[in-house]
């Protein structure tokens, strides 16, 4: 990076502003990344990171501000213009045609003289890049059949084959396991060392410390700092991101009681019929958080869906202390018996974006008659209860209970789910990746609620692919691999030991 200071920045954005429908997503943000560096763009959800990068890639045009590429002022009015300037982006939600093979996807992005010749040329280029980076990607299978990590490699290859010198990756590690993420980030390091510019959009502080040469921090649409991450401590970085330090202390359970939830010999199949949960057995005691760690796809999703009551088990039982086997009852009965569930996929099982905040809140109690009779729905009661929950759970951005939920940010939407699920004190809680995609502050608030429920005597089953989250919250940690619990650790669990159990059985 010694030459970096002599050359103009590879990508420089000065005083960029952008508004959507009156909402100021970017206000006078400035950003500069040099060739040869891994530059992290750090910030909470909604801080404007993705918007800024979408300006760089030409998806948005700024209301004001200047973009310079290698020192020249440019107007990037679309992804094609960005491509001509050698800027490529790997979006958070991959832009792949699932029925196409990797090669066809890359060909689609790059174009070629003809299908056959183009495919051969692309294949040669792809193999060159794969060899240089040590990538293994099945090139001739539909990408829909590839794992998430493999799909991401296809996206990276696509950008590289296009000849990008400036690579933007939006939240690249959000869906990867620790090991996959490390591999991917090391690859990025190598690409930067070859003279490319790698911009890493992330909200994970650890990644920034470990892999970035430089970090730009965004908060509320502004760029608030740009520095060498080594010169900042983790807590200084956190302060820059959230404005105030956040508590990350472990808080062990004050009192663990007797067994509350007993899952015995539970097996279940995935939607395509493959048995991915096989003979899972565990107990969760009252006043305890039992954290399930594991590499994604080892049966965690099916365990959560069976527990919620949206998927039928093949065999086994889920016994809740005092009421018997939950599998005998449907989702509604389980909830009446004191089970609360925070699903991983908020847009599928958690909320309905098109409905109002009050309707999303009331959906949990309407059948039990808490909001009027079958003849007359009591909207006033719904609104009152919602307003109380909004203030009790510190949900921001709710101007009225009639406002649509899709207008809430991820963190506030998740708080609404928690508020609904905890509307009555639960006896057992399923929390599946409860802080996925949330910023530090919102994650802290959700964690606080889980601890409070535990301290009130609930049994909490936490399933998360974020090892940090599991270690931080759990009173006991179980490692799930190939559909069963293969190891258990008492808190405080050793990170390396848990990690080893996750990987060795996989």
């Amino acid at each position: 990076m010694s030459q970096a200071s002599a050359l103009p920045p590879a990508l420089e954005m000065t005083m960029v502003s952008k508004s959507f429908d009156g909402f100021r997503a970017l206000s006078e943000a400035s950003f500069a990344a040099h060739a040869g560096e891994v530059h992290a763009l750090l910030g909470e959800n909604g801080a404007g990171k993705s918007t800024l990068m979408n300006v760089a890639i030409g998806l948005y045009r700024p209301d004001s501000g200047v973009v310079r590429v290698r020192g020249e002022a440019v107007v990037i009015d679309g992804p094609l213009a960005a491509k001509r300037l050698d800027i490529g982006m790997v979006h958070q939600h991959y832009k792949l045609v699932k029925a196409f093979t990797a090669l066809e996807n890359i060909l689609l992005a790059c174009g070629g003289p003809s299908y056959g010749r183009g495919l051969r040329e692309v294949e040669a280029a792809v193999r060159r890049h794969c060899a240089a980076l040590g990538f293994t990607v099945p090139l001739d299978r539909p990408v829909g059949m590839l794992s998430v990590a493999e799909q991401q490699r296809v996206e990276i290859l696509k950008v590289l084959v296009e000849g990008a010198r400036i690579l933007i990756l939006d939240e690249p590690t959000a869906v990867l396991t620790d090991r996959e993420a490390e591999q991917m980030l090391l690859t990025m390091r190598r690409l930067a060392d070859e003279g490319r510019t790698v911009i890493l959009v992330t909200h994970k502080l650890g990644e920034v410390k470990r892999y970035a040469d430089r970090v730009t921090v965004m908060r509320g649409g502004r760029t608030v700092a740009s520095a060498d991450p080594d010169s900042l401590s983790l807590s200084e970085l956190t302060t820059l991101v959230v404005g105030a330090p956040v508590e990350r202390e472990r808080a062990p359970s004050p009192a663990i009681g007797k067994t509350m939830l007993r899952i015995a010999g539970l097996s279940g199949a995935r939607a395509d019929g493959l048995t991915v949960l096989s003979d899972a057995t565990l107990i969760v005691r009252a006043g305890e958080i039992y954290g399930i760690a594991g590499v994604g796809g080892n049966g965690q999703t099916e365990l959560a869906e069976i527990l919620m009551g949206v998927r039928a088990p093949l065999s086994g039982s889920i016994e809740l202390e005092g009421v018997g086997d939950l599998c005998a009852g449907d989702a509604g009965l389980r909830r009446e018996l004191g089970l609360a569930a925070i699903p991983a996929d908020r847009s599928a099982y958690g909320l309905a974006g098109g409905l109002s905040v009050a309707e999303n809140y009331a959906v949990g109690g309407v059948l039990a008659g808490r909001f009027g009779s079958w003849f007359r729905l009591d909207r006033k009661a719904m609104n009152r209860a919602t307003e109380a929950a909004v203030s009790a759970f510190d949900i921001h951005g709710v101007r009225s209970p009639r406002q649509k939920v899709s207008l809430l940010s991820g963190g506030n939407a998740q708080k609404l789910v928690v508020a609904r699920e905890f509307a009555r004190p639960p006896r057992a809680v399923l929390a599946h990746s409860p802080s996925r995609g949330l910023d530090v502050r919102a994650a802290g608030a959700v964690h606080q609620r889980l601890r409070a429920a535990r301290d009130a005597g609930a049994a909490i089953l936490l399933i998360s692919e974020d090892l940090d989250e599991v270690l931080l919250l759990s009173d006991r940690v179980g490692v799930m691999s190939r559909g069963k619990i293969v190891a258990e650790f008492d808190a405080p669990a050793d990170r390396n030991a848990v990690g080893a159990a996750m990987v060795h059985h996989a």
């Binding site: 045009r61 002022a73 599928a348 309905a352 098109g354």
Partner: protein
């Protein structure tokens, strides 16, 4: 999908898509005004109403232009569409007579659409209902004072039965209901022809209609013009529909089924039951509309009593945003169009397809007005 990131499309008033020419965009003297299209997060009620009204006005202008081009003068149009309907009791009665079954059909479509079930088989269900009602009438089932009630119930049952197949196929096997309900229209129509050319052929005239209903089998006159009890029946059904959708718990469950059935299932709400009940209700209402036409207007089962109604029902539900009270208003407007269309045919030799064209134009314009509710246009310097 709660994808909240506002996407923006850019309509550029310049045409350069090449990489930026050298000059600094910030330099003076190079102002480029562009029209930017942005997704609107929230549209206030007055704006929605204004956009809708704007679409309606543009549609009416297009329709008027079309009819003027076909040789009807503007003053004649105003006479046929507005003056005669508002001043002549006969015309008003004719419009209201049309509006009654139209609104019931609109409600049938609206209730199915409210649970994301695209019922395009309304005509088939109308025929199913009318056949069931006619069967009761021809067989002289039940005591005479209850005959009409029995016919109405039979019609509801017939319509619901005609819906049962598509809804079960969709809920159990995921079969697309647009295909199944559409195709069952043809089955129903040919079944109707079979009955009218066969066992139910009118023995007196030997025409392919059923025999005339006797007076206890006809909807009674209201005593003003030729209006029958079909109209109060429609009004009562609209009020009931409004209660069901807006006030009842079932309406809440329908909204969840429309917005995100998976959320409902995870919360233990009976989503399958809600869709089943709503679709059967939709079929039953279509059946009742068939009954209202047969027993209220035609006084017999005819071949073509349902022709064109299915499309109009979808149109009415769409224009009324699936709101039962608005359905009543829109059904009145479509009834006006029907009646005025008839006199255009008779007095101006305008083909009946022109009336359908006018309907389609208005629907297209109103549908397009939705763009301004969802998006915001803004000039950027």
């Amino acid at each position: 999908m709660p994808e909240t990131a506002p996407a923006a499309m850019i309509l550029t008033s310049r045409t350069d898509t090449k990489p930026a020419p050298k000059p600094d965009p910030a330099a003076p003297g190079r102002r480029t005004r562009r029209l930017s299209v942005e997704i609107r997060q929230h549209a206030p009620g007055w704006l929605q109403a204004a956009a809708l009204a704007g679409g309606l006005v543009v549609g009416l202008i297009c329709a008027a232009a079309l009819l003027v081009a076909a040789g009807v003068s503007l003053s004649d149009l105003a006479q046929e569409f507005v003056v005669s309907i508002l001043t002549s009791p006969e015309s008003l009665a004719a419009v209201l007579t049309q509006a009654a079954p139209l609104s019931i059909i609109g409600l049938a479509a609206a209730i199915a659409f409210r649970v994301r079930f695209w019922n395009v088989g309304i005509e088939g269900q109308m025929i199913g209902g009318a056949i069931a009602a006619t069967a009761v009438a021809l067989a002289d089932l039940g005591p005479e004072p209850l005959r009409l009630v029995l016919m109405g119930l039979a019609a509801a049952l017939g319509g619901a039965l005609w819906m049962l197949g598509p809804t079960l196929l969709r809920l159990r096997l995921g079969l697309n209901e647009i295909i199944s309900t559409l195709l069952l229209n043809y089955v129903a129509f040919n079944g109707l022809l079979h009955l009218l050319y066969g066992p139910w052929r009118d023995p007196e005239s030997n025409f392919p209609n059923s025999a005339l209903f006797s007076s206890p089998e006809r909807l009674a006159d209201l005593g003003w013009q030729n209006l029958t009890y079909a109209l109060p029946l429609a009004v009562v059904l609209m009020l009931a529909g409004w209660w069901l959708i807006n006030l009842s718990r079932f309406g809440f469950l329908m909204r969840v089924a429309e917005a995100n059935p998976r959320l409902g299932r995870a919360q233990g709400l009976p989503m399958t039951g809600v869709v089943l009940a709503a679709t059967l209700l939709s079929g039953a209402l279509a059946g009742v509309a068939g009954f209202a036409i047969c027993a209220g207007v035609e006084h017999r089962l005819t071949q073509s009593f349902a022709a064109g109604y299915g499309f109009s029902g979808i149109l009415i539900a769409f224009l009324a945003r699936n709101n039962p009270l608005a359905v009543l208003v829109v059904a009145f407007a479509v009834g006006m169009l029907f009646v005025a269309g008839q006199s255009l045919q008779v007095f101006y030799q305008i083909p009946s397809s022109a009336v359908q064209l006018v309907q389609a134009l208005i629907v297209l314009c109103v549908a397009a007005s939705d763009f301004f509710i969802r998006h915001r246009l803004r000039w950027i310097d």
